[in-house]
C-alpha cells in the first residue's frame, strides 16, 4: 500500500484515506518554477475525469461504454441483480443459448468502469479460450489476453483453460495472486469437491466470482451444494444441515420452496420462453428441381461408378471416403465433382483401368452446359430481393457460385473456415453493407452472427443434421427479429431428395426447438452415426425403392427417439430420479421467486 495514504479520523465508522503522494512533486515544481504541463491537457485531464465519473451506486454505468453489443432485457436484469443483490458472487445458470457470456461480460465491464475490478482471471475449457478473448475485446472493449506464456499471468484480464491453470508451475503463480474477479465457464466441472479442479478454485484468492453453467445439477443434489459452497461457504449451511434440510434422497430435493429461496440469493436461471426471451419462427420451403438430361447422366454415372468401386473394395466403408465424398458432391455442383475426380486420377497408376472410367465421367461433365441448381438459386435470390446467406459444403461449389453470381450481376461475398479473423469480420461487414448474398462453406465456429439476414438457402445438404442446425443457428438466434425462411434446394431423383425427406418430413428437424436435436442425435448415434448409416444405405441399395425403404426405417428410428425425448413421461419412467432433479431445476428460474 502507498505509505502516503494516511488513515484519518480513526474514530469514525468509515475510514477516509487521503492521497498526498502528489504533493512533493508539486512542491518541487513550484520551487524550480517548472517544468509545467500544458493548460489544455490540464483541462482535458479534468474533463476526462468528469466524463467517466461514476455518479451513483445503482445505475449501470457500463451501458454508455458499450457500442458493439446490445444486451437483451433479461441479460441486463441479470447483470443488475448480480451487482446489487448478489454483490458480485453468483452462479449464472441460464439455459443454453441465452447469452451467459454477455451477462458475465456486462458484470465484469461494470466493475471495471467503476474501477472496482482490475485483475481478472477467466477459466474456461481450452476450446473456448480464444472465443472468450474475442468477445471481451470486440463486444466489451476489455483488453483480455489468452494465457500462452508465463508472463501473461501478469496481465490484468487473463483467459486460460482450467487444465493449464491448475497444473504446476502455473498453479503456484496463481495461488500468490489476488484476483478482483474470477469467472469460470462450464462450472459444472466443479461439482465434485474431491477433484483437483474444485480444490484449486477453493484455494484462489478472489473478491468477486461468477460461475457459469447451464446445468448446475446433473444428477446429484450434492453438486448444487458443492457449487454454492465454492462461491459462498455456508450459504446452504454445512453439508449435514443441507442434507437434512433440503435433500430427501441423493437425487430428490425436499422443501423445494425453501431451497429455491436460498438459491435465489446466489443463482440466476433464465429460461427460454420466459421474461422476453423469444425466438422467431422457422419457415421451411423445399424447392424441388429437375436436372437436365446431361446433369442426370452425370449423376447416374457417378452413382454407378461409386457403387462399382464399393463392391470392388469388398464393402469396406472405411476406405471409401473419397467415393462417398464424390457421391455427395455430385448433388452440389459439377465443379466439386470435377476436382475430386482429377485428384483421384492423379493418385492412380498410369495404367489403372479406373482411370478410363474417370475420364468418361469427366467427359460427361464437359457435356453439361447449364447448372440447374445455380440458376434456381439465383432466381430465388432475385425474387426475395433481400439479404440471403447461401450455404454449401464445398469450396469448389462456392467458387463456382461466386463466379456465376458475379457474371449475372449479383453481388456476393464468400466466407470460409480458412479465413483469418480479420477477413471474416471484413466479409461480414461487406455482407451487412453492400452485398446481397453471402456464400458460406463454414457454418460452425463462432463469430458469424447474421441476425440482420433472415433468408438462408441450403444449396446442398450436409448428411450430418448437426451441421444443418449450425447453419440455421447462424441466422436464427437471439436478436433475430424476423421469422427465418429456410430454402432447401432438392434435386428430384437423387439421394438428396431422400435425405431432405428424412430430415424434414420424418423428424421435422428444421423447425425443432434449439437444443433438442443434439439430444436426439446423441441417443441415435449410440448405434452409429447417421452419416455412416446413410452412406451404407446408398452403397448397398440395389434399387431406388431399396433406398426409399432403408431411409424410411432410419427415419422411423429417429422419430421414435424424438418422441422419447419429447415425452417427459418416457424419460421419467426410465430415470425417474434424474428427472426429479431436472424438474426441480426446470421450476427454478429467476421468475420463480415472484
Amino acid at each position: 500500500m502507498n505509505e502516503d495514504l494516511q488513515p484519518q479520523h480513526a474514530e469514525e465508522r468509515v475510514p477516509l484515506r487521503i492521497d498526498r503522494s502528489w504533493l512533493e512533486s508539486f512542491r518541487a515544481r513550484i520551487d524550480h518554477n517548472g517544468p509545467w504541463d500544458d493548460w489544455t491537457l490540464f483541462q482535458l485531464a479534468y474533463e476526462a475525469e468528469q466524463a467517466r465519473l461514476v455518479k451513483s451506486f445503482d445505475e449501470l454505468q457500463c451501458l454508455t461504454h458499450l457500442t458493439s453489443v446490445e444486451p437483451l432485457p433479461h441479460q441486463l436484469d441479470t447483470a443488475r441483480k448480480v451487482l446489487h443483490e448478489m454483490r458480485g458472487r453468483a452462479i449464472l445458470a441460464d439455459e443454453v443459448g441465452l447469452g451467459k457470456t454477455i451477462e458475465a461480460g456486462l458484470i465484469l465491464k461494470e466493475y471495471m468502469v467503476r474501477d472496482l475490478v482490475k485483475r481478472t482471471l477467466i477459466l474456461v475449457p481450452a476450446s473456448l479460450v480464444l472465443q472468450w478473448v474475442r468477445e471481451l475485446n470486440h463486444k466489451f472493449g476489455i483488453a483480455a489476453v489468452a494465457q500462452k506464456k508465463p508472463y501473461h499471468w501478469q496481465s490484468e484480464v487473463v483467459v486460460a483453460s482450467m487444465d493449464t491453470a491448475k497444473r504446476e508451475p502455473h498453479r503456484s503463480i496463481l495461488m500468490e495472486q489476488e484476483y478482483d474477479m474470477i469467472i469460470i465457464d462450464e462450472a459444472h466441472k466443479l461439482k465434485n469437491r474431491k477433484t483437483t479442479n474444485y480444490q484449486f478454485i477453493m484455494q484462489l484468492r478472489k473478491k468477486f466470482c461468477l460461475l457459469l453453467t447451464a446445468t448446475p445439477v446433473q444428477n446429484d443434489m450434492n453438486e448444487l451444494y458443492n457449487l454454492i459452497t465454492l462461491l459462498k461457504p455456508g450459504q446452504l449451511g454445512r453439508h449435514g444441515e443441507y442434507s437434512a434440510n433440503y435433500v430427501a434422497d441423493k437425487r430428490i430435493p425436499k422443501n423445494e420452496g425453501g431451497l429455491q429461496q436460498e438459491l435465489s440469493k446466489v443463482m440466476i436461471r433464465n429460461r427460454r420462453g420466459e421474461g422476453g426471451v423469444h425466438f422467431t419462427k422457422r419457415i421451411v420451403k423445399n424447392i424441388p428441381l429437375t436436372l437436365s438430361a446431361e446433369e442426370q447422366a452425370l449423376y447416374d454415372g457417378v452413382t454407378t461408378f461409386v457403387k462399382e468401386q464399393y463392391k470392388a473394395n469388398g464393402g469396406d466403408l472405411g476406405s471409401m471416403f473419397s467415393m462417398i465424398t464424390l457421391q455427395r458432391e455430385v448433388c452440389s455442383s459439377r465443379d466439386a465433382v470435377f476436382l475430386t475426380l482429377v485428384n483421384l486420377s492423379k493418385k492412380l497408376a498410369e495404367d489403372s483401368p479406373i482411370r478410363n472410367k474417370i475420364w468418361e465421367l469427366v467427359d460427361l461433365i464437359k457435356g453439361i452446359k447449364e447448372n440447374t441448381k445455380a440458376e434456381t438459386a439465383m432466381n430465388l435470390i432475385r425474387e426475395m430481393n433481400e439479404k440471403v446467406i447461401v450455404f454449401t459444403e464445398y469450396r469448389a461449389t462456392q467458387e463456382y457460385l461466386m463466379q456465376y453470381f458475379s457474371n449475372h450481376g449479383l453481388l456476393a461475398v464468400p466466407y470460409r473456415g480458412g479465413m483469418n479473423r480479420g477477413k471474416k469480420d471484413w466479409m461480414m461487414d461487406l455482407f451487412r453493407g453492400r452485398a446481397q448474398v453471402m456464400i458460406a462453406t463454414e457454418a460452425g465456429g463462432e463469430g458469424i452472427n447474421l441476425q440482420f439476414c433472415h433468408h438462408m438457402i441450403n444449396f446442398d445438404l450436409p448428411w450430418n443434421p448437426m451441421r444443418v442446425e449450425q447453419r440455421i443457428g447462424r441466422v436464427h438466434r437471439l436478436g433475430q427479429t424476423n421469422d427465418v425462411k429456410i430454402y432447401n434446394l432438392s434435386t428430384r431423383g437423387t439421394i438428396e431428395e431422400h435425405i431432405l425427406n428424412l430430415l424434414h418430413e420424418k423428424i421435422n428437424m428444421f423447425e425443432m426447438v434449439i437444443g433438442r436435436l443434439d439430444m436426439i442425435l446423441e441417443r441415435f448415434e449410440e448405434q452409429g452415426s447417421l452419416e455412416r448409416n446413410l452412406s451404407r444405405i446408398l452403397m448397398e441399395a440395389s434399387s431406388k425403392e431399396d433406398i426409399e425403404r432403408e431411409v424410411h426405417s432410419l427415419g422411423q428410428s429417429l422419430n421414435s427417439i424424438r418422441n422419447q425425448v419429447h415425452n417427459d413421461k418416457t424419460i421419467q419412467a426410465k430415470d425417474e430420479q434424474r428427472a426429479a432433479v431436472q424438474s426441480f431445476l426446470n421450476q427454478y428460474s429467476t421468475e420463480a421467486e415472484a
Partner: protein
C-alpha cells in the same frame, strides 16, 4: 459524451500535442501524430528506442480517428479484391460488367495490397467506451498534472492602464481538482474543484469551471508582479482537505452502514460454516493422538512401534468422480482449513469494507488580478 463532445475533445488533444491534421470532417479526423503523441499513443517502445539510439529521423504514425462510426463510409483500402473469382475467359458483354464489379470492389490500378499496404492509414473508432478514447484520456491525465498560469491582460486598454499604474499586482491561488471515491462492493464518485487564495485564505468551490472561462497564459505578462504568499502550500492543502473532510462527514452514510452490516452478516455465515469444521478437525486430531498413544502401548515390542500410526480421516462421503482427477495426496501448497477460513474472511472484508478515498486529479498555481471579484 456525445459525438460532438468527443470530436472537440480529440481535436483539442491533437492540437495541444502539435499533431498535423490532414483531414477533418464531423465524422472523422485523419492526423499525422507528433512525436510527443506518437510516443504516448502508439505503444512502439522498440521503434522509439531505435530512433533515440541511432538519431534517425522518426516517421510518426498516421491515424484516422472516427468519432461517429455509424456515418463512416466504408474503407476503400479494404475492398475484397482477391475474393472475387475473376472469370477465366471473359466473354465480351460480361467483361464490361465484371470490370464494373471489380471497380466497386476496389480492383483498380494503384491498389496497394489490401490491409497491409504501406500507405494504409489505420482506422480507429473513438466513440465513448472505445479503448483508444480511454487511452487518450489516460494520457491526458498523465500529461496534464501540474500547471502554473497567469491571467492575461486581454485588451489593449488594460495594458495601457497597467502601464500607467506601473505594475499590476497578481494574487496567487492554489487550485486542486480532487476526486472522492465512496466504495464498498460498489462505488460512487465525486469531483471537487477548490481554489485557495494564498493571500486572503479565501476558499472557492467550482474553481476549475471559473478558470476555464478566464484567459490564462503560462508566461508572466509585462507590467505585472506577483504578490508574496501569506500562506504556505501546506496550509493551503490542509485547508482544502479539511473542507472536503467536513463535506464527507456530512454526506449520507447509509450506504456505509449497510455495507458494514453486510460484512458482519457474511462473516457470521462463514463462522457458522468453518468454526464447527475447525472444532471437528481439532477433535479428530486429539483422537488420532490418543489412538497413537494406545498403539504405541500395545506394540511396544515390535519395530513399527517407533513409527506412529497416522489416521486418514475421511470427512467426505461422496464418491470421487470417475472422469476427473481426484486429489489423493495433499498438494504441497494446499492451504489448511484455518488458512482457508482466514482467506475467506479476508476476501469478504476486501469485498464489503466501506472506505472513502480522496485523491488529486491535478493541481495548479494560478495568479489572478488581486481585486478580481470571484462569483
Amino acid at each position: 459524451m456525445d459525438t460532438e463532445q468527443i470530436s472537440s475533445y480529440i481535436m483539442r488533444y491533437l492540437d495541444a500535442t502539435s499533431c498535423n491534421i490532414m483531414e477533418k470532417t464531423p465524422v472523422y479526423v485523419t492526423v499525422k501524430l507528433s512525436e510527443q503523441a506518437d510516443r504516448l499513443l502508439t505503444n512502439r517502445p522498440y521503434y522509439w528506442g531505435f530512433i533515440d539510439r541511432t538519431g534517425t529521423e522518426a516517421e510518426t504514425m498516421r491515424y484516422t480517428f472516427v468519432f461517429d462510426p455509424d456515418n463512416m463510409p466504408p474503407d476503400p483500402y479494404r475492398a475484397p479484391i482477391s475474393y472475387v473469382t475473376a472469370p477465366s475467359v471473359p466473354s465480351n458483354p460480361v467483361a464490361a460488367g465484371d470490370a464494373a464489379i471489380q471497380r466497386t470492389f476496389g480492383v483498380a490500378p494503384g491498389f496497394n495490397g489490401g490491409s497491409r499496404g504501406p500507405d494504409r492509414i489505420p482506422r480507429e473508432n473513438v466513440n465513448f467506451g472505445s479503448r483508444r478514447l480511454a487511452q487518450i484520456m489516460d494520457v491526458a491525465k498523465e500529461s496534464g498534472r501540474f500547471v502554473s498560469l497567469y491571467e492575461s491582460l486581454d485588451s489593449e486598454s488594460e495594458v495601457q492602464f497597467a502601464r500607467g499604474r506601473h505594475s499590476v499586482a497578481y494574487e496567487p491561488w492554489i487550485l486542486l481538482n480532487v476526486k472522492l471515491e465512496f466504495a464498498c462492493d460498489l462505488k460512487r464518485e465525486e469531483v471537487h474543484s477548490i481554489g485557495f487564495s494564498l493571500i486572503s485564505g479565501t476558499l472557492h468551490t467550482n474553481f476549475m469551471d471559473k478558470m476555464m472561462q478566464c484567459s490564462l497564459t503560462p508566461k508572466l505578462p509585462a507590467q505585472v508582479h506577483t504578490m508574496t504568499w501569506r500562506y504556505t502550500l501546506d496550509q493551503a492543502v490542509q485547508q482544502i482537505e479539511q473542507t472536503l473532510t467536513e463535506h464527507v462527514r456530512n454526506s449520507d452514510e447509509a450506504w456505509a452502514v449497510e455495507a458494514s452490516e453486510r460484512l458482519e452478516d457474511e462473516w457470521d455465515r462463514l463462522a457458522a460454516y468453518y468454526e464447527p469444521l475447525l472444532k471437528e478437525e481439532a477433535e479428530n486430531k486429539a483422537k488420532a493422538k490418543a489412538n497413537e498413544v494406545t498403539v504405541t502401548v500395545t506394540d511396544t515390542d515390535t519395530e513399527q512401534a517407533s513409527q506412529p500410526v497416522i489416521l486418514t480421516i475421511v470427512v467426505n462421503e461422496e464418491p470421487p468422480d470417475e472422469t476427473e482427477q481426484v486429489v489423493t495426496d495433499k498438494e504441497p501448497n494446499q492451504r489448511t482449513l484455518q488458512e482457508q477460513y482466514d482467506l475467506r474472511r479476508n476476501e469478504i472484508e476486501w469485498q464489503f469494507q466501506p472506505r472513502i478515498e480522496m485523491s488529486i486529479i491535478n493541481a495548479a498555481i494560478i495568479y489572478l488580478r488581486s481585486n478580481k471579484v470571484m462569483t
